[in-house]
Structure formats: structure tokens, C-alpha cells
């Protein structure tokens, strides 16, 4: 196991290096960060040369890449280079955004996982029941819906709920502009009130889409296990059905879903773009969309590398969890 982890970590290093090169090429292809500034009014050649030197775009591509890599591994991720921007350092900005995203994503992921597993197991145990058909239909519809529309509808629902709450004299509970920047304050009651107000809608939004995926996976793997010979043996021994389902079937059906959850979570850290955009959370997704729109190469690069790192890391976690849950798997 230990050797396997070491080997996998070593394999992923060249992978990340190659990925960083591709990302660098992509951000270069995105366009000139000074393009907008050059168009604003005529600039003298001296001004342009100075600005290019400041942004680093006056050097050849490979040299720029080399410089960036060397600085990156030393913890200097560059800063915003578009003239007129605040010149924010990339690394702290990315880390802060990641904290915001993590706060939102972790809770939502756990709720979606628990709900999805429960619905999946019930759907498999009562296959072709009304419950199963409803859950299948619901999951199918969720898969076919663009997430951002769901998010927008949820948001407008929240605003209407606020209007109604205000009318009955309870004040506006739902916050659709992200968590308060200064953090939560006041008595415990107020804090809970603010906290739920900020989290409830984006969490629902994330849960809705993840839930569909997990419930389908859990149902499929549970069905496979329930049809296995050893489950029939257990039933033939005369064990109660509840014990068969939970002790014999459910524990084995957990293996595939654990892998899916790990992979999915790795992707989600960099991928809650839509939810963050709609609900105004300044997490990684929001930062990324802004950085791409403004052509901030180093900001985009930092975010891309962070997201790639999480995908690689959680791939590894998925493999380890798999081997841990299923002793038949030999990793090395």
C-alpha cells in the first residue's frame, strides 16, 4: 500500500508538470492582457514597453513559462497584471477563494451523498415500486436540466420567500449575495439565522444535481449486489431481510459509490462555477470566471493548477479507498 502511494505520487508529478505547460499555453492563447489597455487611447512605444515588461509579456513564451514554473514551486504565483487592476497577489487570493468554496461544497456534498445513498438503497430494495419509478424519473429529469436554470429558479424562489417573510414581519432571511464579508456576528441565534440564510439556497442547488448522480449509482450497485449468490445464501440461511440488506449487501454496495464520491469531490472543488456565479459567492468558480473575462493569465493559471491538483489528489484517494474497502484489490 505504502509503495503504491509513493509510486502514484511520483507518476502524478510529471503529469502535473505537463498539465501546467498545457495550461500555460492555454492562458497565452487567451489573448493579450494588455489588449484592452492598448485600445483605450494611443500609447507611446515607451509606455507599451514598460507595461509589457511589468506584465512579463515581452519575453519569449518558453522563457516566460520557465520563470513562472520556478516562481510557482517557490510559492510565488504571480499577481494580477492587467493595468488598472489592483495587482492582487494570486496565491492568497486563490487560497481565500478555496476556503469559501470548500465551506459551501463540503456540506452540500455530504448531504447529497447521504440522501442519494438512502434513496438509492430504497429504490433497489423496492425495485419497480412507485418510489423507485418516482426517484428514477426525478434523477433522469435532473440529469437533463441545465444546472444554472435550476439555480436561477431557486434564487427567484428565495427572493419571493423573502418578500413574503417581510410581509408577515419576519425580515429578509435568505441572502442571495454570498456570506457576509465580515463573518457572522451577534448572538448565537442571530448567527444561526444568518448562516442558514446564506447557505440554504446554494446548498440546495448543489445537492439537487449531485443527489441525482449518487442515487443512480447507489441503486445500480445495490441491485448488482442484491442479485449476487452470497446474498441468496444469506437469505437461505434464514437471516432477517433487514440484516441481509444492511450487513451483507449494503456494505459491499458502498465500494463503487465511495470511488465515485471521491472523484466527484475532486472535480467539484474547482467546478462549482455556476452555483457561485448565481449566488454571488466569491469562491474559486467566481474568481475564475472573472479572471478569464479580464484576461488575467496568472490568476487563471493558479486556479487551473489548484483544480488539477485536487483532481489528481482525489483520484489517488479514490484508489486508496477502493483498496481499503475491498481487500481483494491488491494495489502493488
Amino acid at each position: 500500500m505504502f509503495r503504491f502511494i509513493i509510486r502514484r505520487v511520483l507518476i502524478s508529478i510529471p503529469m502535473l508538470v505537463l498539465a501546467s505547460f498545457l495550461c500555460f499555453a492555454l492562458t497565452t492563447a487567451m489573448g493579450d492582457p494588455l489588449g484592452e489597455w492598448k485600445l483605450q487611447k494611443p500609447r507611446s512605444p515607451g509606455e507599451i514597453a514598460n507595461a509589457e515588461a511589468a506584465a512579463g509579456t515581452n519575453k519569449p513564451f518558453l522563457e516566460r513559462y520557465g520563470n513562472w514554473v520556478v516562481n510557482f514551486v517557490q510559492g510565488d504565483w504571480g499577481k494580477q497584471v492587467v493595468p488598472g487592476s489592483t495587482g492582487l497577489q494570486v496565491e492568497p487570493a486563490v487560497m481565500q477563494a478555496m476556503g469559501t468554496t470548500a465551506k459551501l461544497v463540503i456540506g452540500a456534498e455530504i448531504i447529497a451523498l447521504v440522501l442519494g445513498m438512502a434513496v438509492g438503497v430504497i429504490g433497489a430494495v423496492r425495485q419497480y415500486s412507485l418510489f423507485d419509478y418516482t426517484a428514477t424519473g426525478l434523477a433522469f429529469t435532473m440529469f437533463s436540466m441545465p444546472l444554472f436554470c435550476v439555480a436561477l429558479v431557486i434564487k427567484s424562489g428565495g427572493i419571493q420567500l423573502n418578500d413574503w417573510l417581510e410581509k408577515v414581519g419576519l425580515g429578509r432571511w435568505i441572502i442571495t449575495a454570498g456570506p457576509p464579508g465580515a463573518g457572522f456576528s451577534g448572538s448565537l441565534g442571530t448567527q444561526i439565522y444568518q448562516y442558514t440564510g446564506a447557505y440554504v439556497l446554494p446548498t440546495i442547488c448543489l445537492v439537487v444535481i449531485q443527489f441525482a448522480l449518487y442515487s443512480r449509482f447507489q441503486r445500480a450497485s445495490m441491485l448488482e449486489v442484491l442479485n449476487a449468490d452470497y446474498v441468496r445464501t444469506a437469505q437461505a440461511k434464514g437471516i432477517s431481510q433487514a440484516r441481509v440488506v444492511f450487513r451483507h449487501a449494503f456494505r459491499n454496495a458502498l465500494i463503487p459509490i465511495a470511488t465515485v464520491a471521491a472523484l466527484n469531490f475532486g472535480g467539484l472543488v474547482g467546478g462549482a462555477v455556476i452555483t457561485e456565479t448565481v449566488f454571488g459567492w466569491s469562491g474559486m468558480g467566481k474568481l475564475l470566471v472573472d479572471a478569464i473575462t479580464q484576461i488575467e493569465p496568472y490568476m487563471v493559471l493558479g486556479l487551473m493548477m489548484m483544480a488539477a491538483f485536487f483532481i489528481v489528489a482525489f483520484n489517488l484517494v479514490a484508489d486508496i479507498v477502493y483498496a481499503f474497502l475491498d481487500p481483494r484489490i491488491r494495489l502493488d
Binding site: 441545465p146 427567484s156 474547482g270 487551473m304 483544480a307
Partner: protein, 319 residues
């Protein structure tokens, strides 16, 4: 689809290529059986009908409907009526004609993605599974690499690229939607490549492939005539899934402003343009939304029906 001869002749019926009468007969019945099973799947049939209607609507609707998408000032924010079944927008444009055009672009993008991604995936998967060795490792590392890059991020960064935008210009007109389609294809081919590779790896050891090799068949002939037709079921199912995903991904990209740009259009862009009308003029938001769901749902149902039809082992049997 375990019987190779049947499947091979079934995919490419060639009367004088040395197959016996018996083979071509059973070949026809193989596809008949699949079709019959497909027709028994009610949701899939409904999905197919809906999808055909959507295609007709998108590509021929503009010839039938009286308003053009370019006509403005027909009256702003008119609710749906007999004259404007989907109402009008904030420039006084007829929404039905806008939806026709948006659906057309969305479908074009989805179909291009399905074709390009399937093509790349099948070729790379077949080569890597059949050749094995270092070619296989190389292609596999490539797949891993693309999977490491967060797809949404890549597509978003690529669609910004002015350099690539210049490159895809046809004449003086920029075709931004084509660019979006190509990008989505470039991040959608990996799952099909992996599936085809796994199937080719096992098929290449089968007796009929050995027989074809013993008869002196060239590698391309063995791969394209003998092996790939046996993976057609997986390929078709995967393609339908890709279409559904492409529609949603395109819509999401256009929504955050990094996908299709005007003067081109798409259903996602229409929603983006009308996202603030949700409460006051809900039809402007919900109609394009409904069309996206209709496309994606119908294609998903078709894929589900195909899977059941091709693989009778997964048939829904009451236990």
C-alpha cells in the same frame, strides 16, 4: 452481440463478399430484433419522436414561421398570444423565431460534438487497444492528462482565445459557435476512447479475429471490418450521452458569457440574455429552458432505449 459474423455483416451488408445466404438472413434479423426491442421501450420511442420534432422545428421552422429573427419593434414584452406564441422580448423581437434559431444552433453544436468526439474517441481507442505496447501507454497518458485538466475551466479559457477565433473565421464572418463546438468535442472524447479500448482489447483475442488474420487481412481491415462493428452498440449509446452533455455544457458556457457570442445564438445565450426577466416576463426564461430540457431528456431516453435494445441481458425483467 457476441456473434461476430452476424454483427459484421449486419453493419455492412455486402452481398458478394463471400457471406452465405444464412449469414445475411440472420444479419437482417439481428437489426430487426434490436429495432423491435427499441420500439418496445415506450420512453425511448417517445424520446425519438420528440427529438425528430425538435430537429424539424429547428431546421425548417424558419421557413414556415411568418416572423424572421431579425425583425424587431414588434412590440416589447408582449405575453404569449396567437400572433406571438412565445411572446416578444425586450427589443420587440418575436421569441418563437428566436427559439427556432437558438435550437438550431444548439443542435448543430451538439451534433458536431457527437460526431467529432466519437470519431476521435473511437480511432484512438481502437488504435490503443489493438496496437497495445507503447502506443497504448502514450494514448492512455494522454487521456489521463486531459482528464486532469478541469473541463469547464479549459473550455472557458479556450473560448476566450482571440487567436483561435481568428483561425476559425470563414470569410469575414466569425463562426463562434463552431469554435465552441470544437472545444466541447476536445474535452468529450475520453470516455468513449476508454470504452472502445477495453472492448478492442478483449475482441482482438477472439477466434474470428485470428481467422481474419490467418486469411491475410490487413490491420485496417481487421480493425474496421471485424472488430469495430462489434463495438457499435457501445458507440451508439455513448454518442447519445455525449449529445445530451454537449447541449448542457454549451448552455452552461453561454450562460457565464464564455460560450456562444452574438450575432450567433443558442438556447443558453437566450437564457443568459433573459435571466433578469424571470419574475416579470417569465416566458422569456422558461421557454428556452424547456427546450434545453426537451433536447437533453429526449436524447437521454433514446440512449436508455438503445442500451436496453442492444443488451438484452440488462432488459428490465421483473425479478
Amino acid at each position: 452481440m457476441t456473434d461476430a459474423t452476424i454483427a459484421t455483416t449486419g453493419a455492412t451488408p455486402a452481398p458478394n463478399s463471400g457471406t452465405s445466404q444464412f449469414d445475411s438472413d440472420s444479419a437482417r434479423s439481428q437489426w430487426k430484433v434490436v429495432l423491435k426491442r427499441f420500439m418496445r421501450h415506450r420512453a425511448a420511442v417517445a424520446g425519438s419522436a420528440l427529438f425528430i420534432l425538435l430537429v424539424l422545428f429547428a431546421f425548417f421552422g424558419s421557413y414556415v414561421w411568418k416572423y424572421s429573427y431579425q425583425q424587431l419593434n414588434l412590440g416589447r414584452y408582449l405575453p404569449p398570444s396567437a400572433d406571438h406564441p412565445f411572446g416578444t422580448g425586450h427589443l420587440g423581437e418575436d421569441m418563437l423565431s428566436q427559439i427556432i434559431r437558438g435550437t438550431q444552433f444548439s443542435l448543430q453544436i451538439a451534433i458536431i460534438v457527437a460526431v467529432v468526439a466519437t470519431f476521435i474517441g473511437v480511432i484512438l481507442g481502437a488504435v490503443s487497444g489493438y496496437r497495445r505496447g507503447w502506443v497504448d501507454s502514450l494514448i492512455n497518458r494522454g487521456i489521463d492528462l486531459v482528464l486532469v485538466l478541469p473541463p469547464f475551466v479549459i473550455a472557458a479559457a479556450m473560448t476566450r482565445s482571440t487567436f483561435l477565433l481568428e483561425a476559425t473565421k470563414t470569410g469575414s464572418q466569425s463562426s463562434n459557435w463552431l469554435l465552441v463546438a470544437i472545444f466541447i468535442s476536445l474535452i468529450s472524447w475520453m470516455s468513449i476512447a476508454r470504452t472502445v479500448r477495453a472492448m478492442v482489447l478483449s475482441l482482438r483475442e477472439k477466434e474470428f479475429v485470428e481467422a481474419a488474420r490467418a486469411l491475410g487481412g490487413s490491420t485496417p481491415r481487421i480493425v474496421f471490418r471485424h472488430i469495430l462493428p462489434n463495438t457499435i452498440d457501445v458507440i451508439i449509446v455513448n454518442t447519445t450521452v455525449t449529445i445530451a452533455q454537449a447541449v448542457l455544457l454549451e448552455a452552461a458556457l453561454s450562460f457565464i458569457g464564455l460560450g456562444v457570442q452574438s450575432p450567433d445564438t443558442s438556447l443558453g445565450l437566450l437564457i443568459n440574455q433573459n435571466k433578469n426577466e424571470l419574475t416579470q416576463h417569465p416566458w422569456l426564461f422558461f421557454i428556452p429552458f424547456a427546450f434545453i430540457v426537451a433536447i437533453s431528456l429526449s436524447v437521454n431516453f433514446i440512449g436508455d432505449g438503445m442500451r436496453d435494445a442492444f443488451d438484452p441481458r440488462q432488459r428490465r425483467v421483473k425479478a
